[in-house]
């Protein structure tokens, strides 16, 4: 399978009027309602439908959301439950505690709308041109160059570490090809103190925050420098200093955890937000439902960021859900939601920035569904040619890639050219190769670290087990790779 690089010109794509994100057929629109800053508005389905020209819009939320729901732009303290109207048995309104709605006298099932679903917010077109200048965040040159360099450095690291697994140097790897925009756009919109819960395909967030190449490599090689002490498979990164909670393999478990962390942070009153990343596949897990419901009900300052990349290993989205993706679930929980073009780093940035501002000000969660495409295989244990066509993958790699779209934006402003590209390509590769070579030479952690940190203190029974292991090793040492491990 060819390695996917960012250095492909994307001039030839004709602008299509329909977006082709796998699984979600929707019409590309920019939402131009303004409130603050970048004029990004999170729609309740009701207000979006009011603006929509689609006569057949009848998403689930329309009828249910006719309840009087106040949405003040200012801070909202613990608000009273919506259904506490005074009990009035004479009124011809429903009095049920469970919902605030009107009566209706004709039978009609609400049609879930998946043909023209929630629209995809974008700032740039596929050629990197700004569509609506008032949506351009107008970030300074240094910041945009940094976005580009972080995305491309990640891409370079991915290519080298993927290869290193193929060569048997590391045991496993997962690339981030195609999703770099979701990482960098969202990470850039956060504060360094904001707490990040990830799934496993968010290395760009950590890279953006400054996690050094040496520590990425150390975790993948499980060497003495690994902050995780060599206990987990590659790509299970974590950093206390950078507020990035260590990745775990079970999917979606981080979602209710993020809600709890956000609740704690709300009580601390420190103007921090929690962001929780997950894929569209993980969103099917029960933990996702639990996390969304808790965050909304308990009023947690939290951004749920779903990377909808079209596949959960081999399972395409039409085998993952029947509704309108993940964004459409948000209103069901009472959550403000938006769908964005995940390959448009400015759209991701704008949406995350506004979500952050409001989540903290109003103590409520926001759901961002970033549509994107997983260009690479699921992992080094996967060969995706078994379930999708090379043509499909090539489209995304060549015609709609976050890195090339941003490069077009930069070159149009004269901020980047062939020379800078050549120089940076060389430098980034050198940085990665040097870190790689250093990491290869390092030893593995001391085998005592097999036994520590199970509890804060080591129980006597575990001490005994450790001693028995060393006694065994003394007698049978030639059968164990002790030379590679720290003494």
């Amino acid at each position: 399978m060819s390695s996917f690089t960012w250095d492909y010109c994307a001039k030839s794509a004709c602008a299509r009027s329909k977006c082709v994100f796998i699984g979600v057929k929707c019409i590309l629109r920019t939402i131009v309602t303004g409130l603050y800053g970048f004029h990004v508005k999170f729609c309740t389905i009701h207000s979006w439908a009011a603006r929509s020209s689609l006569a057949d819009w009848s998403l689930l939320g329309v009828r249910l959301l006719r309840r009087p729901r106040p949405l003040p732009p200012c801070a909202r303290a613990l608000s009273p439950p919506l259904q506490q109207q005074p009990f009035d048995s004479l009124a011809e309104k429903p009095q049920f505690p469970g919902a605030s709605a009107e009566f209706v006298d004709h039978l009609e099932f609400i049609q879930p709308n998946v043909i023209s679903g929630i629209p995809v917010y974008r700032v740039m077109d596929r050629q990197g041109q700004i569509i609506n200048p008032s949506e351009d965040p107008q970030l300074p040159k240094e910041m945009v160059l940094n976005f580009y360099q972080k995305m491309t450095l990640l891409n370079t690291m991915d290519r080298i570490l993927y290869e290193s697994q193929r060569q048997g140097r590391i045991s496993f790897y997962m690339t981030n090809y195609g999703e770099e925009g979701t990482h960098v756009g969202s990470a850039a919109a956060l504060d360094p103190e904001d707490l990040v819960f990830g799934q496993y395909r968010e290395a760009g967030v950590l890279m953006f925050r400054g996690f050094p190449l040496d520590l990425f490599m150390a975790q993948c090689y499980a060497n003495v420098d690994d902050l995780g002490k060599g206990r987990q498979m590659p790509v299970h990164y974590g950093s206390k200093d950078l507020n990035f909670v260590t990745i775990s393999s079970p999917l979606a478990t981080q979602i209710p955890q993020a809600a709890g962390a956000a609740y704690a942070i709300k009580r601390e009153n420190t103007n921090r937000v929690v962001i929780c990343y997950f894929g569209e596949g993980a969103a099917s897990e029960g933990d996702a439902h639990a996390g969304f419901n808790f965050a909304a009900t308990l009023e947690c300052p939290l951004i749920f960021f779903c990377r909808n990349n079209g596949y959960a290993i081999s399972t395409p989205t039409d085998e993952q859900y029947r509704g309108d993706g993940i964004a459409a679930r948000g209103p069901g929980y009472g959550m403000l939601s938006i769908r964005v073009d995940g390959n448009d780093v400015f759209a991701v940035y704008n949406a995350t920035k506004e979500a952050r501002r409001r989540a903290i000000a109003e103590n409520q969660p926001f759901l961002i569904e970033a549509m994107t495409y997983r260009i690479g295989h699921h992992s080094t244990s996967d060969d995706s040619s078994a379930y999708r066509s090379v043509d499909e993958v090539n489209y995304w790699d060549k015609q709609d890639h976050p890195i090339s779209r941003l490069r077009h934006y930069m070159t149009a402003r004269g901020w980047w050219g062939e020379e800078e590209e050549r120089a940076w390509r060389k430098q980034s590769r050198k940085l990665v190769m040097e870190a790689f070579e250093r990491a290869e030479k390092r030893q593995k952690p001391h085998p005592d670290l097999l036994f520590s940190d199970v509890y804060l203190e080591m129980p006597p029974s575990l001490e005994k087990q450790k001693e028995s292991m060393w006694r065994h090793l003394q007698q049978y040492r030639e059968h164990y790779p002790l030379d590679h491990y720290e003494k």
Binding site: S239, V245, T246, A259, G260, A261, Y263, L298
Partner: protein, 373 residues
Amino acid sequence: MAAAVRLLLRAGSACNASSVCAPHTSTQRRHAAHFTFQPEPVPSQYGPTQKMNLFQSVTSALDNTLASDPTAVIFGEDVAFGGVFRCTVGLRDKYGKDRVFNTPLCEQGIVGFGIGLAVAGATAIAEIQFADYIFPAFDQIVNEAAKYRYRSGNLFDCGNLTIRAPWGCVGHGALYHSQSPEAFFAHCPGIKIVIPRSPVQAKGLLLSCIIDKNPCIFFEPKILYRAAVEQVPMESYQIPLSQAEVLQEGSDITLLAWGTQVHVMREVAAMAQEKLGVSCEVIDLRTIQPWDIETVCKSVVKTGRLLVSHEAPVTGGFAAEISSTVQEECFLNLEAPITRVCGYDTPFPHIFEPFYIPDKWKCFDAVKRMINY
């Protein structure tokens, strides 16, 4: 749910174990509890005491915690109004609705949320309404909470998390209000499991769990919530974890149990002394994981016989682990095979509970067989 609560509240008012209520009509009265709770001497080292039953001693521990730790929060189903077993009565009014609050009905959410609170530095006290309902949270407990510190290289941990759940038989709880699931969790390194036998023990052990920097599961014997009444210190105090307690010294056989079953074993010890002249050493394990191997083995070395008893089904129950370890450590000291008197390998039955539970007669009979081995 409300009906279940009413039934359970009636359980505490049954007559004591040594008499059977005389039926007034031809229909059979429900049986009294299978043991009698004996309050222990008033502890003097922890300051002034007050008469409390077990649920009140839990409330007291939680009250002390909320007063001294501003980050502490209590949450779960129905905790706001006081809880289905009244363990959180008065706390929301006293400490505020941001600190004592209901969650949606979702155990995986409750534990996941609790883990997140703990990771962010708050003291999280999660209530699972019945231990029987803890299983949706099994993944969060076993794959996440237990492994948080280890897998992150000690960068992150959820040591500030304590999960509380009512546990054990109650006379009529049947399959889903009687379970003792400690064995499922004992198999998982990284969490602590603690089960008290009395109000004084409950408060001290719960406070130790809350303070302990590891995620803890605290199982509260629901049959003791109202039935167990003692003088309990009002101030905060801690009883150490991973320390078993020898309640009664003896020379012929060691009787080991935890929670409600400790009271059954005490009665068995009295019966054995009276009817067989056998001197029993009674031990309350208190912490199931990590358990106090040293105290138990020291006792077995002395007595040569070990009887372990729990309500949970015998196969794969925690008595199996104890049995295996003790025979490894004390093989040559054993005068008889280690015996387990436990629930049968069935779900916990309703009308058959009197036949199912490891009552004092079954334990007494086991003692007799072991002495005569």
